[in-house]
């Protein structure tokens, strides 16, 4: 959807923006804060965006603008979670245990992204899930393009270390398929 279709302060335009961006935003937040808090963070992000909607300037795409708000909400949430973890270590009975990961979660790339610092994770998700280029990511996050490149490089190096097993599995399968192909050819 083009940003020209939205008018700042128009409630109907905001509803359209909400419908079109909500699923993608929730999935971004899944990758940053996990399954337990993604919906809550998305709701908080849309509330903040709704309040700021009259002040939205059309120079940035509305979806990028709302992504920026959501990533800031995720940063705040991760800070709070870290504080809760510290309090939980000091006084275990004072705070509730964190949500357990849902089925199929926590063993794959999404879990590895969630282990990254939230700013690195946001750059990774915007690039490899949403398909934005470095310039667009820089606009969304409000940082320089060089910083985006550095964040992506650092994040991918860490992910590579974390996901070595997965990649090894891929290489094994490729090797196996190559061998099978040779066998069939013979």
């Amino acid at each position: 959807m083009e940003e020209g279709e939205y008018t700042a302060g128009d409630p109907e335009a905001f509803e359209r923006l909400y419908r079109s961006t909500h699923p993608r935003l929730v999935r971004t937040l899944y990758g940053l804060v996990g399954p337990g808090a993604a919906e809550d963070c998305a709701q908080e992000a849309f509330e903040k965006a709704y309040k700021a909607w009259p002040r939205w300037r059309g120079d940035a795409p509305a979806e990028a603008w709302i992504h920026r708000i959501a990533i800031n909400v995720a940063v705040s949430h991760r800070r709070r979670s870290r504080l809760v973890e510290i309090v939980g270590m000091v006084a275990p009975g004072l705070v509730a245990a964190p949500d357990p990961p849902s089925d199929g979660w926590g063993q794959d790339v999404t879990h590895a992204v969630r282990k990254l610092p939230v700013k690195l994770g946001a750059a990774v998700l915007l690039r490899y899930y949403h398909g934005y280029n470095n310039r667009e990511i820089a606009r969304i996050l409000g940082i320089a393009e060089r910083t985006v490149g550095w964040r992506l490089g650092t994040a991918m190096a860490r992910l590579r270390t974390d996901l070595d097993d997965g990649l090894a599995d891929i290489e094994d399968r490729e090797r196996l398929s190559l061998r099978n192909g040779q066998h069939e050819a013979n």
Partner: protein
């Protein structure tokens, strides 16, 4: 393999999409549901007046507490200056400290112990010091006129100066010792 290896990036992006796209995200479709996500929206009640009322209530309670504490301090110490309250309190504690020792049984001149009397409790409760001789029931009755007038003064200075000395040094200065073996003079 470098961290920015295209093969790794392609594998990572496909796994990330696969994982995030299969997550179920429910987006409200109807307008009413969308509005329900924004409780501070057009048709919802603003919480600002409620917050203002709560703040004013808190201010009233705080002011009442300050005035109440000041009134109690003034009534107790008689001074409007809070700096004096501490000294007054310490003084009253020190004044009441000797009276608390009177709760222990004290021997009467006749030798019959008396239990703690209500008189000492009353004297401890009253802030004004008593100057009556009855209140001074210290274990040294010789200082009081009543004790000096007791029929059997035993360890009083008057008893030492009595005309019948018993263990005085006069018996050692007998004429027999002066003219004896002469060990004292040599």
């Amino acid at each position: 393999m470098k961290p920015t290896d295209p093969k790794f990036e392609a594998w990572f992006a496909s796994r990330l999409k696969q994982n995030l796209d299969r997550l179920p995200v429910t987006t409200p479709e109807r307008q009413g549901q969308v509005q329900g996500h924004f409780p501070f929206g057009r048709n919802s009640m603003s919480l600002t007046p409620l917050v203002a009322v709560l703040k004013s209530q808190v201010a009233v309670i705080a002011a009442t507490l300050v005035v109440g504490v000041s009134a109690i301090g003034m009534a107790t110490t008689g001074s409007p200056n809070p700096k004096v309250w501490g000294a007054d309190l310490m003084g009253s504690i020190q004044r009441s400290a000797p009276t608390t020792t009177t709760t222990t049984p004290t021997p009467t001149p006749e030798g019959t112990p008396t239990s703690g009397t209500p008189l000492t409790i009353n004297s401890a409760a009253s802030p004004e010091p008593r100057d009556t001789p009855e209140a001074v029931s210290s274990p040294e009755p010789t200082d009081t006129p009543e004790a000096s007038a007791s029929p059997e003064p035993r360890e009083t200075p008057e008893a030492v100066a009595s005309p019948e000395p018993r263990e005085t040094p006069e018996p050692t200065a007998t004429p027999e010792s002066n003219g004896g073996d002469g060990s004292g003079d040599d």
